[in-house]
């Protein structure tokens, strides 16, 4: 593997049978080192200068003290933190429970759509219709329909709570997107894999379970994790049904004195929650063989 900086060619590895770099190579290495140093210095200095300009520039605008007091009031933020964090706890719980159900339903729908043979036509049709409908309906609309609409029917045996129906709306809607992601994964498995499995005598179900799905699921983990990062935020939409999530909690705090710091606090908490998930996604993607930027000559 070669990169611009290059290994320090002046000290050869012991296993190289006493190879020492030629003077030409030493020249090249020295030149590259010098260039790296220079570009590093330029990058560092320009970053510092830019930051300083931004800080000074923003800090000296006439509106800045007001903006800072309204959006970044530290004490107000600290005060609002427990309430907002408690709201966030609802977001987290909803997301975790819904995530499991979404994966199950999404996988089922994807498998239904990839079944072959005329006997499975109704299942394929149902799965296709389902994904079309729920990818078409706005999530907020489904939340209203299920959260207010279904309890209004007062049908015996159905639960009433807003959280449950809000969660159901999230599950039904997100499953349609996740089903398509899984389907893409399943269909991306080379047909020879199925052929090899069937040729060994594995049934259709066994092929799916032992050969196709293990590969397909691993393959689509990065886009799947992306959907879950999104779910974390959308879980807050169930606040329209009356439950208090982090955003609603921030809104209630803000309504007291028109200081928007609670919103900033809620935002920071959401970002803090997202970052581990996005880093995990990157790590999984790399293990899957996604090459990623950085390093290398091209």
């Amino acid at each position: 593997m070669s990169d611009q900086a290059g290994p320090d060619a002046a000290s050869p590895a012991p296993s190289d049978n006493g190879w020492r770099p030629s003077s030409l190579q030493l020249e090249r290495a020295a030149y590259r080192r010098q260039r790296t140093l220079r570009s590093g210095l330029i990058a560092g200095i320009s970053t510092v200068v830019l930051l300083a300009l931004v800080v000074v520039g923003i800090g000296s605008t006439p509106g800045w003290p007001r903006v800072r007091a309204t959006f970044f009031d530290f004490d107000r933020g600290l005060e609002a933190l427990p309430v907002v964090a408690q709201g966030l706890w609802l977001n987290i719980r909803v997301m975790l429970v819904c995530a499991v159900l979404i994966v199950l339903l999404g996988l089922t729908l994807a498998i239904m759509r990839t079944l072959r043979g005329p006997i499975f036509f109704p299942l394929r049709m149902f799965a296709a219709a389902y994904t079309d409908v729920f990818r078409g309906l706005p999530l907020l609309l489904v939340i209203f329909l299920l959260g207010f609409g279904v309890p209004a029917l007062q049908l015996r045996g159905l639960p009433n709570q807003a959280v449950i129906w809000g969660g159901a709306a999230l599950v039904l809607t997100y499953s349609s997107y996740v089903a398509e992601v899984f389907r893409a994964g399943i269909e991306s498995i080379h047909p020879s894999q199925r052929a090899a499995a069937r040729s060994l005598g594995l049934s259709h179900r066994q092929t799916l379970r032992f050969v196709v799905l293990p590969q397909a699921v691993r393959r689509v983990l990065p886009p799947l994790l992306n959907d879950f990062v999104s779910l974390q935020k959308d879980s807050g939409l169930i606040a329209v049904l009356g439950v208090i999530d982090a955003i609603r909690a921030a809104q209630l705090e803000t309504a007291e004195d028109f200081n928007f710091t609670p919103y900033v606090v809620a935002g920071l908490l959401f970002v803090a929650l997202t970052i581990p998930l996005t880093r995990l996604t990157d790590w999984v993607a790399r293990r899957q063989g996604w090459y990623g930027g950085g390093g290398g000559v091209v």
Binding site: S192, R198, S199, G201, Q206
Partner: protein, 243 residues
């Protein structure tokens, strides 16, 4: 009675006629090599024998049973036939050992411990004993194909189908695979092989079948088909690939 009897098989894909009244007999213990230009129907024929494709017409009999009968249990039939493809054979998410034990455990209901022992024996047989716990992507192309052959053999198939198994390999890896196939033949395995490797064909095959546009144009012992082909198209084909 031949082990494998293919009679008047016809197969089209859309408007493309790939196998045209194809007939061939393979005796037990025989190695029959199929040669022909790409698109001549060699792979399709193997896939029909393995029931990965359904024939449009004709009969295929394996050990006296008509396997083209729609009432047949396809999974059962397939577990009695071993097939190895040109590429993408092994399951990349499983170790080599798990690849080989998958079918015995799940299909033939062999106890896992027994399956593992037999698998290790088979891997040793193909020279991969030390690679049992490796992942397929850690193996060279030749090693992967040998593992695929081991995986097919561990089910004790009556018939082995090999579709251009060395075509995707670097030349220096081809030999180890062909040597293995030669050993299998010597042990009495019935084989139907598609290949471009003429040296292998000449030394190992009992019969060579030249396919031209879906028909078995010439069938005969290697000496005859390769040295003194009767048909002009056979001659033309052999001339082309020798160049």
């Amino acid at each position: 009675m031949s082990l494998l009897s293919i009679r008047d098989v016809r197969k089209s894909f859309g408007s493309n006629l790939v196998l045209d009244d194809f007939s061939l007999e393979v005796e037990a213990g025989e190695c029959v090599v199929l040669i022909g230009a790409s698109g001549s129907g060699k792979s399709t024929l193997l896939r029909c024998v393995n029931l990965l494709e359904t024939v449009d017409d004709g009969v295929i009999e394996l050990d006296g049973t008509d396997i083209t009968d729609p009432r047949i249990d396809t999974d059962r039939v397939r577990s009695g036939i071993g097939i190895v493809f040109q590429a993408y054979n092994l399951f990349p998410h499983l170790s080599v050992l798990d690849n080989v034990t998958l079918a015995p455990i799940r299909v033939h209901r062999v106890r896992p411990a027994v399956a593992r022992t037999r698998a290790l024996e088979m891997l040793a047989r193909v020279g991969l004993a030390d690679k049992a716990s490796a992942r397929p992507d850690e193996l060279s192309g030749g090693q992967q194909q040998r593992a695929a052959i081991a995986r097919a053999l561990v089910n004790s198939p009556k018939l082995m189908l090999l579709d251009e198994v060395t075509s995707a390999l670097d030349p220096e890896l081809v030999g180890e695979v062909l040597d293995l196939l030669g050993e299998l033949k010597a042990e009495g395995m019935t084989m139907l092989v598609c290949t471009h490797e003429m040296t292998f064909a000449r030394s190992v095959a009992d019969k060579i079948c030249f396919l031209d546009r879906g028909r078995p144009l010439e069938i005969g012992p290697p000496a005859q088909v390769l040295e003194n082909p009767a048909e002009p198209r056979t001659q033309e084909f052999l001339r082309r690939i020798r160049l």
